[in-house]
């Protein structure tokens, strides 16, 4: 639903990078790998948290 606050595996805080990642790699046309390197998200456990995330708030909000 919302982006996880921390990486499930190592506990690094990844939530704070989500909005920038989304703006640059999802909505923008930058290479996701380069954006993650730039944000300092190095390990693949943390990278998959952002790469594989989908925001679902917009999907569920009509059913309140």
């Amino acid at each position: 639903m919302m982006v996880p606050v921390r990486c499930f595996t190592c506990g690094n805080v990844v939530g704070e990078h989500w909005e920038e990642f989304k703006a640059r790699a999802r909505d923008g046309d930058e290479d996701p790998a380069e954006v993650l390197d730039d944000l300092g998200v190095e390990r693949y456990c943390c990278r998959r948290m952002l790469v594989s995330h989908t925001d679902l708030v917009d999907v569920v909000s009509p059913y309140q």
């Binding site: 639903m1 919302m2 921390r6 506990g11 690094n12 805080v13 990078h17 390990r43 925001d55 708030v57």
Partner: protein, 249 residues
């Protein structure tokens, strides 16, 4: 320990560091690692009282998210394990509630990162809550774990041997960590972790340096790496003293 020990930094930032420790046993090195993960107390939100939550997530889901936000941990001795610090959050939609919206009752305990989205609020949705942060250890809950991806590797020494036979294809020699060369420390990332880049056309032998460990430590922002390591070592010392007193006749 009777042996002399020595610490040397390879890389040093506030939240991330790599350092070499010489003259400690593997057991003690692992003891430090474990203490950094499980025995250094940090502040984290533990109890949340919701005044209003009309968002799309349940109270308990939001409480978990709030708990995982790292909070700056005050210097040792300022707080005991029973003290609480109250933080409050009040955001009205349409807006996103961020960790930076938490208002703390104590200047020493603040969200370490301000940009963590807690919940996206739509029109007429509102989040108002009061949260109590407590001091606890990583043993009890991962949210109190100050050290992230803490680990160590042996320091390695490379011995350069004879030339590789002229017509033989040379295979890649991948080494990760830090190598020692004439007393100088070289991170393997300098030569793309491949020893054939550094010593082309040479036979190389890699061996561990006994009792020398390269630690890689990151923190979640609760404190600096220096604080984390010294507090971890202090906790080992405190427990050792406790044990000594307990077994005395």
């Amino acid at each position: 320990m009777t042996e002399e020990y020595d610490v040397e930094f390879v890389e040093r930032e506030d939240r991330k560091a790599r350092f070499l420790v010489r003259g400690v046993t593997p057991a003690f090195a692992n003891g430090i690692r474990r203490a950094m993960i499980a025995d250094v107390p940090t502040m984290a939100i533990d109890t949340v009282r919701f005044v209003e939550n009309s968002s799309v997530m349940f109270d308990e889901q939001l409480a978990l998210r709030l708990g995982l936000v790292p909070l700056t941990t005050p210097p040792e001795g300022e707080f005991t394990e029973d003290d609480t610090v109250t933080l409050s959050i009040d955001v009205e939609g349409p807006a996103t509630a961020y960790s930076g919206d938490l208002v703390s009752s104590d200047d020493l305990v603040q969200p370490a990162d301000e940009n963590v989205p807690i919940i996206e609020l739509k029109d007429d949705q509102r989040l108002e809550a009061e949260a109590d942060a407590v001091l606890n250890r990583g043993k009890d809950h991962a949210k109190h774990q100050g050290g992230v991806a803490v680990g160590y590797r042996h320091l390695q020494r490379v011995e350069v041997g004879d030339d590789v036979p002229e017509f033989e294809e040379q295979e890649r020699r991948i080494v990760r960590g830090v190598i020692e060369e004439d007393g100088e420390l070289v991170p393997t990332s300098e030569f793309d972790h491949d020893l054939t880049n550094r010593y082309p056309g040479k036979e190389v032998r890699v061996e561990d340096v006994p009792n020398a460990f390269v630690f890689h430590v990151e923190t979640d922002g609760s404190f600096t790496v220096d604080e984390l390591v010294t507090r971890a070592v202090d906790s080992i010392e405190a427990r050792a003293i406790e044990l000594e007193e307990a077994v005395q006749l």
